[in-house]
Assembly symmetry: C2
Homo-oligomer: 326 residues x 2
Amino acid sequence: MSILVVGSVALDDIETPFGRVQGALGGAATYFAAVASLYDRVNLVGVVGTDFPGQHIDFLVERGVDIRGLQIAQGKTFHWAGRYDYDLNTAVTLATDLNVFADFRPALPEDYRASEYVFLANIDPDLQISVLEQVQAPRLIALDTMNYWIEHKREALTEALRRVQVVLVNEAEARQYAGTYSLIEAARAILSLGPQALVVKKGEYGAVLFTNGDLASTYFFAPAYPLERVADPTGAGDSFAGGFVGFLARSGRITPRTIRQAIVHGSVAASFAVEGFSLERIRNVTLEDIHRRYQAFRGFTSFEASCPWLETCERFREVELCDSET
Amino acid sequence: MSILVVGSVALDDIETPFGRVQGALGGAATYFAAVASLYDRVNLVGVVGTDFPGQHIDFLVERGVDIRGLQIAQGKTFHWAGRYDYDLNTAVTLATDLNVFADFRPALPEDYRASEYVFLANIDPDLQISVLEQVQAPRLIALDTMNYWIEHKREALTEALRRVQVVLVNEAEARQYAGTYSLIEAARAILSLGPQALVVKKGEYGAVLFTNGDLASTYFFAPAYPLERVADPTGAGDSFAGGFVGFLARSGRITPRTIRQAIVHGSVAASFAVEGFSLERIRNVTLEDIHRRYQAFRGFTSFEASCPWLETCERFREVELCDSET
């Protein structure tokens, strides 16, 4: 299997109540690739300027990321500056300097075209479509987007949504796209375009899966991993996507169960991302670390009989409430 | 078993984007009793004015609620008026007329004193303590509170917290009491006072359980039941408490497992409460209805092997990712 990611590679200035970094490695494609490369081979398509530090390239290469698709253009690397207050759920953007990213036109090296899993990170939906025209027959395409494209490029975004299997967006974006406060209605609207799954990321509140079919039997919810301390929420969503797509690629199967497991992997990956500034923590994470938190997730939501985390109690049936300890 | 609830019985004016009601039955003790009475016998202590409609008394009596502890005082019933906007998570209080509730002094009829499960709904912590001095030896005492008491009666509230087993509050209240943005730190501060469990209600984002011990092995999260439409969030927290305490009383056992199951019952009860204005929907709910949604909850969070909702897949071990369908 191989995974293709197309998106931003950036240098970020980030300030949170717990510290600050300047010119730190960032960008959606970077976070995604750093995580997904733990699971499988990642092909990266993006652009950086001539100011991009060689050590960041080295990090990606060490991680096994194929960077032949990373263009180096004359000029400066995409730069984002943002601040988070104690409510770490929302970033205040202080500066967005597109620089070389303004003229980014994704061009896939020939052997990237056979990539089986594709993640279209948040970029202009016209560019997302141009990527879809360059890939051959991927097994799964997942897409992220943002409020700017929903507002300014709705038509192109809708066309892109029609052509993907999984949509990964946050709560506000799902509501904004569908023009409704009801997340269930929003999910229905997005799924009606063609995608088989909508994963709604809710930050510290976890993530939700919607698929077609009766809600009571298809809905899935994964909490966020409980953390003592969140240092920097930047990249949480893209790290989530990296764990999600990475797990599916590595498992080689796309089923209702593996999609649920992939969401838990996404949630675990995001939990590591936010523990450090920039890619600090992700840099040192292993698949074993991810697996350990994945195992803990089973306990976070188990309340029933048949799950080994809790002792057997089979008597909660037909309004016979559980009254046995064995 | 029998359940004691002490708290407000009110007449509410409520406005949401989906409608409005005036002079409708409300109050924390009412919502709690209406739900908990589905599970077990409920003893209610509260006060209403002479304007309180007899039909509401009839409803409680039909539900099997023992209302000998409901005082009828000269004057008007406690009245609350509030409005919710599309963001149904926060109420804007338009009026709070305490009326007869201002002089409320809980007095337990003699045979209420042996109640085994006690819910101290949100009232002045000094009154909560006075209830604790009237009960004999309950198996479980659960307590709710609100921002007003945290700010103005912190000392009495702390004393009350020391004397209960379960604290049921919302996210903002837990953070406010502990003076920290970290919910985990807040939980630690509250549990250090004595309670064995802290249940944090997060509205549409579900509910979380903290108990003493290693977080990775004790943390529990229950999502909110996914609803097409929320009519009126009033009473969600007290209905949650009704399902929570009701289930524990009926099951007769307080264990890590039954506490988790009780949280799911609370979440289900809250989901019914918010589907109608006032007690409209709760009025017609049966234990069978609750059981049906409880069953669906198993599917909402299952992603593993050993849970029957998903086929068996035992091979996700030691970073061997799941790659088998059988």
